[in-house]
């Protein structure tokens, strides 16, 4: 459904994508794993046409997304949903109006139908009854779940989730994982999930991509990744500090650095 070819992108000296090529199949759940600051959110935004990469191509159903006119792009976006990392709720509108926004913009549904749809989606994320709250009155996890409800309110064909379960308690996280799976298995929604959570990633993914400072270091089914002998991948999925991936920002030895300061 989405195909990325030789995508490269950098912000100044920060490289967010280095000749990345990968494919996201229709009706599959693809999970992108990667360290903080490795360019996952940027990649997701570029896939949705919100940001332009420096070079490379992003094909959405065979059409290059950076070349679409504004009208075509908006038409494509009506079949996309995105949960932003910070949920991006409109802070001047309450939960109900946030969820009603896309429906009022693009459909002619009556208020009664809109109300029903909103109730259903809020029930899915466990927040029915919070319609009247303002975003500033929501906790971090609640914000995220309202953002999720808004992302799927138009029943999109493809949904991008930017860290859907980070900051959630284990029960809510489990419910959200199940929701992503249900949407995919029952309605065939193509899902692209950015995540830090290895366990949940392996649970929901059909395919896992591990991104490391702009490079794809692994991609495959969860089983392939788990049984991979590659030291980098082992270190990443076990979360160990020692291994080929450095934890520290600099290669300078800590003791040498400290000693030179006291000389």
């Amino acid at each position: 459904m989405i195909k990325i070819e030789n995508l490269s992108n950098r912000y100044g000296s920060i490289i967010t994508a280095n000749n990345v090529s990968c494919e996201f199949e229709c009706s599959e759940v693809t999970v992108i794993l990667g360290g903080s600051g490795s360019g996952k959110s940027t990649l997701l935004k570029q896939m949705a046409g919100l940001a332009r990469p420096n070079s490379g191509r992003i094909l959405f159903e065979g059409k290059e997304i950076t070349c679409l006119s504004k009208k075509e792009l908006y038409e494509v976006r009506k079949s996309m949903g995105m949960l932003f990392q910070g949920a991006a709720l409109f802070n001047s509108l309450n939960v109900y109006d946030n969820l009603a926004f896309p429906l009022r913009e693009h459909t002619k549904l009556s208020e009664k139908v809109i109300q029903t749809i909103i109730k259903m989606k809020l029930e899915m994320v466990g927040l029915r009854g919070s319609e009247h709250l303002m975003p500033s009155q929501l906790s971090g996890g609640m914000t995220k779940r309202v953002g999720l409800a808004r992302a799927i309110i138009m029943d999109p064909k493809i949904v991008f989730y930017d860290e859907p379960t980070s900051g959630l308690d284990p029960i809510s996280a489990g419910v959200i994982d199940k929701l992503i799976l249900d949407l995919n298995r029952k309605l065939g929604v193509t899902s692209v999930v950015v995540s830090h959570d290895i366990e949940s990633a392996f649970k929901i993914a059909d395919k896992v991509i591990i991104l490391f400072y702009g490079n794809i270091i692994a991609s495959g089914t969860p089983d392939e990744i788990k049984s991979s002998p590659d030291a980098k991948i082992c270190q990443f999925i076990n979360g160990s500090p020692d291994g080929p991936i450095p934890f520290s920002h600099t290669d300078k030895d800590f003791m040498v650095d400290m000693r030179s300061q006291w000389k």
Partner: protein, 257 residues
């Protein structure tokens, strides 16, 4: 050293030209969306309330004292020539032609312009603007156009209010305090003020509304996606808008009057 500063000047010049170009496209797009359906009446009314209605108090106070101080100063000067009766026309003309539009615009840019920049900047860094795009709604059409239109609607009205209260302030000081004849105050005012004076004031206030709307929305929209980016954008809006208002005022005065 010299080549370095040349590079610096050249770089800033080029980026200045570039943002002038993108700013022009930006405001043209916003203006086009004002006249093109869908018309977002609810959004426009909300913005007029924020930009216009909520500026009433500050405009009331500034206009009252501007009129009062004008009368005080004018009285002392005019009484040297024994022509205190001209006080009404002096106050009215300086307020309607100059001080009303300019002071009103300066106050609004400080109060509402900076707030608009901050609001748009915060929407940007919290991904609300990309979220609008994701929902296939044009952020310029949804956010920027109603704000620009609200500035265009509010400023002439606020300026008219400023003129009214300013003249009343002059009346309080001139007639009630310093004892200028009431009939002379208003009579001279009516005979000296022409349609062109009022018309010029309205044209100025419309131009200033466009300037504040343009600068505040564009700077907010192009603010760097950081907290410092938004805070410096807010400052830039007030500084740039104030300078632009004063320069435009000179140009318009030389054309109109």
């Amino acid at each position: 050293m010299i080549s370095q500063s040349l590079v610096f000047v050249g770089h800033n010049f080029l980026s200045g030209i570039q943002s002038l170009g993108s700013g022009t496209l930006f405001i043209l797009c916003a203006l086009y969306n004002i006249v093109k359906p869908p018309f977002r009446f609810a959004r426009i009314i909300k913005e007029v309330e924020f930009i216009g209605v909520k500026s009433f108090t500050i405009i009331f106070v500034t206009s009252l004292f501007t009129g009062m101080v004008l009368a005080l100063q004018g009285y002392h000067t005019l009484s040297k020539f024994g022509s205190e009766s001209l006080l009404g026309s002096a106050v009215a003309l300086s307020i309607i032609r100059e001080l009303g539009p300019v002071l009103c615009a300066l106050m609004v840019s400080g109060r509402a312009g900076s707030a608009v920049t901050a609001e748009i900047g915060i929407m940007k860094i919290t991904d609300q603007i990309p979220a609008l795009e994701m929902m296939a709604v044009d952020p310029i059409e949804y956010i920027v156009s109603p704000k620009v239109l609200a500035f265009l609607i509010s400023l002439p009205l606020l300026t008219a209010f400023f003129d009214l209260i300013g003249i009343f302030g002059g009346y309080l000081v001139g007639v009630k305090l310093l004892g200028v004849n009431e009939g002379a105050y208003f009579g001279e005012m009516l005979s000296a003020t022409t349609f062109d004076d009022v018309f010029g004031g309205v044209v100025k206030s419309l131009a200033f509304g466009l300037i504040i709307g343009w600068i505040s929305t564009f700077i907010g929209y192009t603010a760097k996606s950081t907290t410092e980016g938004v805070s410096s954008a807010t400052t830039n809006t007030v500084v740039l808008a104030s300078v632009a208002i004063l320069i435009t005022d000179y140009i318009l005065t030389s054309i109109l009057f």
